[in-house]
């Protein structure tokens, strides 16, 4: 019986399918372990070696990891939401109500997306604090700190653009206030100091796609929220993780 099983396993590991996926032998030697990491796309982002201090929960609190996890949750629930949601003035609000009251598990989906979004903003900020308090922003990790800063901005922008999508009073006025701020930008805003632009071509106008919040704003924010910003975030996260590896894994204790 055991012999038979062994034979079966031997056969499986020699099939082309297996060999093209796992290009090296069992990771039971140092060399094979390194090769496993190097040859696997996802793993190669991960450091080759993780030192014991980095495994201690109290050092990183896994805050970066949780942010990443929440982003994945956002992506999955977000894509599911996109099945039901149409970004037009006519339907946006109606579709939200459909999700809440007529789609099975729709309310759960929505709440999940919403809470995970709040959670992500929180964990990313806490992660940044952790990095700061462990002094991990110092060279050679200063580059990754900067990537991180952009990631923070992207997270906040995702949250902001997503907020308009339900198209209710709350969304409408929150985004009105938010985009009004752009009006007060120096030079680039129509009402800021040193203004040179009119209401028809200042920053606020480009954000909204019109003078007031309108159908254009909704579409704009939708495209940003569901395509542009997530794509940018994925690319930057890849760089972020890869940099962690290249900078010699998680920083050591102070």
């Amino acid at each position: 019986m055991i012999r038979l099983l062994k034979q079966l396993v031997d056969w499986i590991v020699r099939t082309q399918v297996w060999l093209s996926v796992f290009r090296q032998g069992w990771p039971n030697t140092e060399r094979n372990r390194i090769l496993t990491i190097l040859n696997t796309c996802l793993f190669h982002l991960h450091p080759i070696k993780v030192r014991p201090h980095a495994l201690k929960v109290k050092y990183t609190f896994c805050l970066g990891g949780i942010s990443m996890f929440l982003f994945i949750v956002e992506t999955i629930t977000g894509v599911l939401l996109m099945f039901y949601y149409r970004p037009t003035v006519e339907y946006a609000y109606q579709d939200m109500k459909d999700l809440e009251f007529a789609v099975t598990f729709g309310l759960f989906l929505r709440n999940m997306h919403r809470w995970a979004a709040h959670g992500m903003v929180l964990t990313v900020i806490l992660h940044m604090c952790r990095v700061f308090y462990t002094g991990s922003y110092k060279p050679p990790r200063e580059y990754n700190w900067c990537v991180g800063v952009v990631l923070l901005v992207l997270t906040l922008l995702l949250s902001f653009t997503g907020y308009l999508l339900p198209w209710d009073q709350l969304a409408f006025w929150a985004v009105t206030v938010g985009t009004n701020m752009a009006k007060a930008t120096p030079v680039l805003g129509a009402e800021g100091p040193f203004r040179i632009l009119s209401e028809m071509n200042d920053m606020c106008f480009y954000l909204r796609g019109s003078v007031d919040i309108s159908e254009n704003t909704l579409l704009r924010f939708y495209v940003l929220h569901c395509i542009a910003l997530p794509l940018a975030a994925v690319v930057l996260m890849s760089i972020h993780f890869w940099r962690v590896r290249k900078d010699g894994g998680i920083s050591g204790p102070l």
């Binding site: 109500k97 009251f101 759960f108 209710d168 009073q169």
Partner: protein
């Protein structure tokens, strides 16, 4: 306890502890998933539907049982009928029982609405449930019969969040404040009639008394003079023209009137004098007075030739029925000003000219141009001067010092003109040479106004919704804004509330044309052409009657199809000497003393042009059987409780004693067959008469005539005056 001991015991084995945590978190997650599924499955509305279903079946079963118990006792036709009903009811019961529990929704593309209200209010269409509590209740009244729920849904009238299926989210309670997620909560009962006004654009809306009253208030108060108000964009200015005022009134009267119009009529409400009280200083009032009095007309100064005979005047006064429109010591009509005390207001010479040439002084007045001769006018003026003598008015003391003004006349007049324009006098009064647009904020789309932006000034302890804000504007605008320009109208709180309901019917939505309800078959024709137009204008028929879509509703009877409704001979007589058709009404047709040519023209015009093809031409000959059957129907249906017939009867409807002389058979037939179509506001019940029954009744009513055929030739002297 055990866990901790376990952990203590195996402190060394880190792995075991991790397994425990893993198990605990795993179990928690599984529980969460189960809870989620239960919550997802268990919705409030499902319980509602189950309860409604139980109530519905119970109601039907009760009916079935009573029918079943009666069945053995009934016979013949009734038995067959009962059996049929029983079978139908059993079918309904099966239907109710087999209704699946699911989300219900009404989608109305034309209105862009999707309403799920019936998911909880599942029995809303069931009249058996009219006595139940919400949400199981059937809709009260007949509103759903008039408005098919599949075509209208719920939120067009009630507002709220139709897509939601739980109580809070459906906005049953209005949430106010910054984080209010929705703009429209369900309308409270006192505002619900405002929704009727979205589609019902006529002034009188059946079954919506508050809305109708409100529209009346808006029209009477003349809000549209200063504000843009939907439906009233083209309303005429409500006040008289102030041209040549200097030759009409005296200075003391004007000063008093400007400082407080209420002085002449302390009664609240928009019944008589409607001029609001403006917030003016003494100086401004004097300037206004100088400005207005400066406009005089030379022609008026000459006194008329000849002396008047007040006794002849009194006769004319009564014959012409002046009191139909004019008040005399607080009694009489409400269309026109009080006549008692008239001498303390107007100039005698002016009065003479006015009677002679009414429309020269006030091109828009509601008063007809009477055909009085110079002597007759002298008589009437003499009568008025004798009968309605008032005290000589004095300039109030407070103005004595100011009137000594050191400014020259011209600068005073200019100042007055400025006050005139800035206070918005132009909203209600025309004055040659002064034109300006509406000076106050636009009130269209009021119901969708952003409530956060309203300025509440000093007002506190009040629910901050737009309706209350308008209420405060009417009640005491100074509380909202110190320098408010809005004048104070003499209107009661009830009138204010009604006006608010009417104003809030404009949410800026454009209803699709198939939803808009206007009275049927009436084309609007603002300016009537030709000879007909001239006569209508001269006698101001439109002050009281609607003629081609425009006019007053003193008579609830538009004249547009008068030719199909009444007989020619009767009309001719009526123009000669009009009488009151309905004794309980105080408004009576005035005696215009038309000359024969005009009367003949109108009679011909009515019978050839003002007709309605949907009213059949029915020959006036009926056989005795029909008449007899009609009479028994008349008795059976209890017509007599509202209409006078012969000696007795009710006073609500028009007397029918001699109705055959007055109305055409075609109109009688058409109207009793379908009263709501012809006059939606009419309280005449719709008996759902069959063709035969309607014919029989028509035959009977047409036979109710005072005169036999032979002597029906000349009607000149026969009219009975009531």
């Amino acid at each position: 306890m055990r866990l901790r001991r376990f952990i203590k015991m195996d402190k060394s084995t880190l792995g075991t502890i991790h397994y425990v945590w893993f198990a605990v978190i795993g179990a928690a997650l599984s529980v969460a998933v189960v809870v989620l599924c239960i919550k997802e499955y268990d919705r409030d509305w499902k319980r509602c539907q189950v309860v409604v279903k139980r109530l519905q079946t119970k109601a039907i079963e009760e009916k079935i049982q009573t029918l079943e118990s009666e069945l053995p006792f009934s016979q013949g036709k009734t038995k067959a009928k009962n059996e049929e009903t029983l079978a139908r009811m059993r079918m309904v019961r099966e239907q109710v029982l087999s209704m699946p529990v699911k989300i219900q929704q009404i989608q109305i593309d034309a209105l862009g609405r999707v309403d799920r209200c019936t998911t909880c209010h599942a029995g809303i269409e069931d009249t058996n449930l009219a006595e139940q509590e919400n949400p199981y209740r059937g809709h009260p009244g007949n509103y759903l019969q008039w408005h098919d729920i599949g075509k209208f849904g719920c939120t067009v009238c009630h507002e709220g969040q139709g897509l939601s299926t739980n109580y809070t989210q459906a906005a049953h309670r209005p949430l106010r404040g910054l984080d209010r997620p929705w703009q429209k909560a369900i309308l409270p009962r006192y505002l619900i009639q405002s929704s009727c006004g979205k589609c019902h654009l006529d002034k009188e809306v059946p079954f919506a008394p508050l809305l109708s009253k409100g529209r009346d208030v808006i029209e009477k108060a003349g809000c549209s003079g200063c504000h843009k108000v939907r439906l009233y964009e083209n309303q005429e200015k409500v006040g008289p023209s102030l041209d040549r005022l200097g030759s009409k009134v005296n200075r003391a009267w004007l000063l008093r009137w400007l400082s407080n119009p209420r002085e002449y009529d302390p009664a609240e409400g928009l019944t008589r004098y409607r001029m609001p009280k403006f917030n003016l200083t003494k100086e401004q009032i004097v300037a206004l007075e100088v400005f207005l009095m400066a406009d005089r007309d030379g022609a008026v100064i000459q006194s008329p030739a000849g002396e008047g005979d007040s006794e002849a005047g009194a006769l004319l006064f009564r014959e012409s029925r002046c009191v139909t429109c004019h008040l005399v010591e607080g009694k009489g009509g409400y269309l026109a000003p009080e006549l008692s005390g008239i001498t303390s207001k107007v100039n005698k010479e002016w009065l003479y000219r006015w009677m002679k040439n009414t429309h020269y002084f006030q091109p828009k007045t509601q008063m007809p141009q009477f055909n009085f001769s110079g002597q007759q006018v002298n008589d009437i003026v003499a009568y008025l001067w004798e009968e309605f003598q008032g005290d000589e008015l004095e300039v109030p003391g407070e103005f004595e010092n100011i009137s000594g003004f050191d400014k020259d006349l011209e600068s005073l007049v200019n100042q007055g003109r400025k006050v005139f324009m800035e206070s918005g006098c132009t909203g209600c009064h025309t004055k040659s040479g002064i034109e300006q647009g509406r000076i106050a904020p636009d009130l269209t789309a009021l119901a969708s106004r952003d409530e956060e932006g309203l300025n509440w000034g000093e007002v506190q302890d009040i629910e901050k919704y737009i309706g209350n804000w308008v209420f405060m504007q009417l009640k005491d605008p100074a509380l909202l804004e110190k320098k408010a320009k809005m004048p104070h109208f003499p209107i009661t709180d009830e009138e204010m509330a009604a006006a608010i309901v009417a104003l809030l019917s404009d949410a800026g939505e454009d209803m699709p044309s198939q939803y808009v309800a206007s009275l049927p078959g009436r084309e609007s024709y603002p300016d009537l052409p030709g000879e007909f137009g001239k006569i209508v204008d001269k006698y101001r028929c439109r002050s009281c009657h609607v003629v081609y879509g425009k006019g007053g509703w003193v008579s609830m009877h538009p004249l547009d199809r008068e030719g199909s409704e009444v007989k020619k001979e009767w009309l001719r007589g009526y123009f000669g000497l009009p009488y009151s058709l309905r004794p309980i009404l105080k408004e009576r047709m005035v005696n215009l003393k038309m000359d024969d040519k005009e009367a003949e023209f109108l009679v011909n015009f009515f019978s050839t042009v003002m007709v309605d093809n949907s009213i059949p031409d029915i020959e006036d000959t009926f056989n005795e059987d029909d008449i007899a059957r009609g009479q028994s129907l008349f008795d059976k249906n209890g017509c007599i409780s509202c209409h006078i017939m012969g000696k007795g009867g009710g006073y609500v409807g028009t007397p029918l004693t001699n109705v055959g002389d007055r109305l055409t058979a075609g109109w009688i037939y058409a109207f009793i067959k379908n009263p709501r179509y012809y006059e939606p506001w009419s309280i005449q019940p719709d008996y759902g008469l069959s063709e035969e029954d309607a014919r029989a009744l028509t035959a009977y009513l047409s036979s109710c005539r005072e005169m036999k055929k032979e002597n029906r030739v000349s009607l000149g002297g026969r009219i009975n005056i009531q």
